[in-house]
């Protein structure tokens, strides 16, 4: 099937009806390979994470299979000093910035403290944000601060189509445009918010056109095309650093997988449609493209895929070698200035009783905030008094 909406900004064709466009300036063969490497690593992480969840080794997981282009493409366009703000959907983005994959897996495994969290300043990667759209004002604030500091550093935030309905999206877009700060709003329009389709989310046909309400440029790109995602993000970041203000990017794609590991899309959508979109998934498409270009051959690709598998194998064993955090993790770092007396008493109360057995993920049955309520721990059915 040809890529949807021929109008979309796109580099990679389908090797048939849709011709390839030239590789964007600024991307050499090395870059193409590196970007492919990133995409493969993200893909491998996602597959591994789903497997781990099925095996009950991590909890609910929000998979992103098919959205690698929107993540690797955008991040590859960033300077190392630029700050990025992921939502739960870009949960593994940190591993491309030096966050150990084991740390991300541990977060999904229910570990906090030093095991599940990382230092954002070390990686210029904000913590994974769960409440929809609420991280957008933070990205604006960072960009505002870099502007005040004359640092020529930009920020970028990822969010979904559903997120555009939240007030925080609007307030962040408005602040960014009024203050003309160097930030990029990268909206991954996968056309679904859990079970809610795009047309129940907004009256506009596209998301990019919403930029007009903020006198901000809005661009629409094929969200399954890593090179196109790179190109629009690169241009937006250059504008931002040149002091020309923010940009809204709409990466148009489709949520090929379930919302989360416990979600069952058959409850609310026709999966035969999904199949049509699936052929556009970015990793296979980029591989084919690089083969056509002669930049990638089977041995090289195999090497890259093996490398990713090795990284993840190591990450999984690292994760499993991590002990459940001890009880103090409840109180640690809540206040950077130390323990208030209430914590001292709380910790003492904990020590006064036998520690409950470590909580394990619920396994195949568990769920995220996705549909399905299987995340309720199976309990002996008892008469209630």
């Amino acid at each position: 099937m040809a890529a949807p909406e021929p109008s979309l900004l796109r580099v990679i064709g389908d090797g048939a009806e849709v011709p390839d466009a030239p590789v964007p300036d600024g991307l050499g063969d090395k870059d193409l390979i590196e970007l492919f490497r990133w995409s493969v690593l993200l893909r491998t992480f996602d597959l591994r994470a789903v497997a781990l969840q099925r095996q009950g080794r991590i909890g609910t997981y929000a998979l992103y299979w098919g959205e690698e282009a929107t993540q690797a493409g955008a991040l590859y366009a960033c300077e190392d000093a630029d700050w990025v703000f992921p939502s739960y959907r870009q949960n593994a983005i940190g591993i491309l910035r030096g966050v150990p994959a084991a740390t991300v897996l541990s977060w999904w495994r229910g570990y906090g403290g030093d095991h599940g969290f990382y230092n954002p300043r070390e990686h210029r990667v904000a913590p994974i944000c769960v409440p929809i759209a609420t991280h957008l004002p933070h990205a604006v604030g960072v960009a505002w601060a870099t502007k005040i500091r004359r640092d020529r550093i930009a920020s970028l935030s990822w969010f979904g189509d559903g997120a555009t309905s939240e007030g925080d999206f609007h307030e962040a877009m408005n602040f960014a445009s009024v203050l003309k700060v160097p930030t990029v709003f990268f909206c991954v329009n996968n056309q679904w918010a859990i079970s809610t389709p795009l047309h129940k989310q907004m009256a506009t046909k596209t998301i990019s056109e919403k930029a007009a309400a903020y006198a901000m440029p809005g661009v629409r790109v094929d969200g399954f095309d890593p090179l196109a995602c790179w190109k629009v993000t690169k241009d937006a970041l250059d504008r931002a650093r040149a002091g020309e203000g923010p940009t809204l990017i709409e990466a148009f794609c489709y949520r090929i997988m379930a919302h989360g590991t416990a979600d069952d899309p058959r409850l609310y959508r026709d999966e035969s449609v999904t199949e049509k979109w699936k052929v556009l998934e970015p990793v296979g498409r980029m591989s084919a493209f690089l083969h056509r270009l002669g930049v990638l051959d089977d041995t090289k690709e195999a090497e890259i895929r093996d490398e990713a598998k090795t990284v993840m194998a190591q990450a999984v064993s690292d994760m499993e070698s991590i002990e459940q955090p001890d009880q103090d993790v409840l109180f640690d770092h809540v206040y950077a200035s130390g323990y208030p007396w209430t914590f001292t008493e709380g910790a003492a109360e904990l020590r006064a009783v036998e520690r409950p057995p470590a909580a394990k993920p619920l396994g195949p049955q568990s769920t995220s905030s996705g549909t399905g309520d299987h995340d309720l721990p199976p309990r002996p059915v008892q008469e209630m008094t």
């Binding site: 999904w108 809610t196 309520d373």
Partner: protein, 336 residues
């Protein structure tokens, strides 16, 4: 008569209210097509159609605010908040508008909405899916805040909340959603037309979940079953007989049941999952001391969540009040 879980009880309450009164509408994120992430609204779309059961855009202030407007026009909206923490974007609409509409309109136009909030931890959910914000609402005048703990109460209180003219924050303990089954008759608990008395009773009185004269355990929501277990242990191990009060209504509190049980037993323990600082437990403890200190043989103690962000789930059992911690608190009160 059939054996229902709490989720099924809530669903039955909603269905009966919608069938009885066509002013009742249900709105929220993913409530229609899929019946909500916890399936509480399952089947309503098919039975009542897409005008009365609506999947809204993803915006809590918009959802609550629109529901208030619908109520102003005369409908009876029931809003679902997907998870506890996600109520905060709609907080302003609840505390500034829903809570004050009746007051601001001479009582003529109360914001007759129900805001359903699945809350609490213990379900191994990811970050920010396990909060217990009930005290924030109980502190805001103009709201009623309730929390059923049994399938039967879930059905009855849902009907009462929907038909009550005032805004009701309806806290649903996730952990209990399917924890057990209970007989719930299809029969309505009160004639929906009038009978304010029974409706009022369901929204303002506590339930005695266990009777005893040695210790009063006062609690609500997810910690009710734990207090019952602790009570059994005390009975076996120390032949201490405990009264367990399931508050059900967090605002207004059933001060009579609270003070009566504490005075009768002379010893009381308050238990909840939410953080301690200025929580529901602080109010219950204060009420008892203010009214019955001379009848007490020990100060009222509290077993609660700690004053920390709800932890990542691998450590949630360290955070949640356990039967052991309840027994520890009980001992403090008993051996004072």
């Amino acid at each position: 008569m059939s054996e229902l879980t709490m989720v099924e009880g809530l669903n039955l309450g909603l269905r009966q209210a919608m069938a009885e009164d066509d002013r009742v509408v249900v709105l929220g994120e993913d409530v229609a097509q899929t019946g909500g992430v916890f399936r509480v609204t399952a089947g309503l779309l098919t039975q009542f159609g897409e005008e009365r059961v609506v999947d809204t855009p993803l915006a809590e202030a918009g959802i609550v605010g629109a529901a208030i407007g619908m109520a102003v026009y005369g409908l009876l909206p029931v809003v679902e908040i997907q998870f506890d923490v996600f109520v905060y974007p709609g907080f302003e609409q609840i505390v500034v508008h829903a809570a004050r509409y009746a007051w601001r309109t001479k009582g003529e136009v109360p914001a007759s909405i129900v805001v359903r909030i699945p809350f609490g931890g213990g379900v191994r959910a990811p970050e920010l899916h396990s909060d217990s914000p009930e005290a924030l609402f109980a502190h805001v005048p103009g709201l009623k805040v309730v929390c059923p703990t049994t399938p039967r109460d879930a059905r009855d209180m849902m009907l009462a909340a929907i038909l009550d003219p005032d805004p009701v924050i309806f806290m649903e303990p996730k952990r209990i959603y399917r924890a057990g089954r209970q007989e719930v008759s299809e029969e309505l608990p009160f004639s929906l037309g009038n009978s304010h008395k029974e409706r009022e009773r369901l929204l303002s009185t506590a339930r005695v979940a266990r009777k005893g004269n040695d210790l009063a355990m006062i609690t609500y929501g997810p910690t009710v079953p734990l207090c019952l277990q602790a009570a059994e242990r005390l009975a076996e191990e120390r032949s201490i007989e405990s009264t367990v009060i399931d508050l059900r209504s967090l605002y207004p509190l059933d001060v009579d049941a609270i003070v009566e049980s504490a005075s009768r037993c002379g010893r009381a323990l308050v238990v909840h999952e939410a953080p301690r600082m200025s929580g529901i437990g602080a109010e219950v403890s204060s009420l008892i001391h203010e009214r019955a200190m001379l009848k007490l043989e020990a100060p009222v103690m509290r077993v609660t969540g700690f004053d920390v962000p709800f932890p990542q789930f691998a450590n949630e059992d360290d955070y949640l009040p356990s039967v052991d911690r309840i027994l520890l608190g009980a001992r403090k009160v008993l051996d004072f």
